[in-house]
Subunit: 80 residues, 6 copies
């Protein structure tokens, strides 16, 4: 497998949130490796409120992990 | 992407809760970028009890992250 | 918005559980601000076992946050 | 409300698991205070695999909280 | 109730995973004490992908608890 | 049972993510030991968006555990 996750460290909370999204997408990609099938599923679930909420929940769980890994970017607090 | 999450630090628990809501909404927005589609979904899921509960769960998960990032606003405890 | 969450600190675990319920309700209220719609949904979901279990799950997640904020009321342990 | 949660402290992990069940039941009771309705729902959800699994998930989340409150009963480890 | 959970301590991560499964099963057993009903449900949910995934989620949550209780078996790291 | 989980320690976050997938799969395998049935279920759930999202959620929960076990690979941070 190609390298896609060298570190959980990000510079800002926002980049951390984007990493949480990447982690969520990667989980789907590994479970369903066919890009063709994933592309067919996308228009359907992205127009279904409950599916969208479920995706958001996975992102929230992954963001917990990334945020903890970055000590919640607390070192950035003083600079602000 | 525009800057929308400079920090997880908030002054009060209530502002933290509002940030948790923002995080939850942002997850939906990034998964379904079309504002038109999101607007069409809103009246439906916001009148569906199970969808509402699911949204509330995502907020609860994000609030865990924000609360931990703020050390649960414990420093505010003594002032109160 | 009115102030409704001045602190996560509670005197007892039971009050913490009640705060977890408040947090769960607030999530719903903010997502569906119309009291009229919420009142119409209530009789339905409160008689549906799966909806009730889902609500209980949100309470459980929020209770994790409140309990951590109060250091699990461990200081109360010795007094008991 | 009557006192039902004086502490999260339990003597053993098993008692902690039982407390996690109590917390889960209490969440349902507070959301649906009518004992009559709850009694009618019970035979249905307790014979539905997906409902049972959902209940078990709430118990698992509450057990995380109780276990953390008891420092995972680590002090019991040496005695064993 | 008979003693079934003397400790959360296990020798290896794998035994910890097995304990997480036990915890998940116990949650179901306590919610539905009738072995007869549980046996009838089993063939159905164990052939339903979504039910299986839901079971796996409960195991994952319980494994978090068991892993934390064992400090993630970090003491085993050096020996390896 | 054969040994499949000697440690939660991995060299990189990516290997940790792969371990989280293994943990998720193992949960399914233990709940449904028949490889025949699992193989029949796979084409169906892997083409169902909601099932895929649910699998991704289990992976996310397990990744939280693995990441914590590795102290979020923070020791790797300086080398980068």
């Amino acid at each position: 497998m190609e390298k896609w996750l060298p570190s959980l460290k990000t510079k800002t909370p926002q980049e951390g949130f984007e990493l949480a999204i990447t982690l969520s997408q990667k989980g789907v990609q590994i479970t369903q490796p066919s890009e063709g099938i994933r592309k067919k599923l996308r228009p359907k679930y992205s127009r279904n409120a409950d599916s969208l909420i479920a995706v958001t929940q996975v992102i929230a769980i992954n963001f917990q992990t990334v945020a903890a890994a970055n000590n919640y970017w607390k070192d950035n607090f003083t600079i602000k």
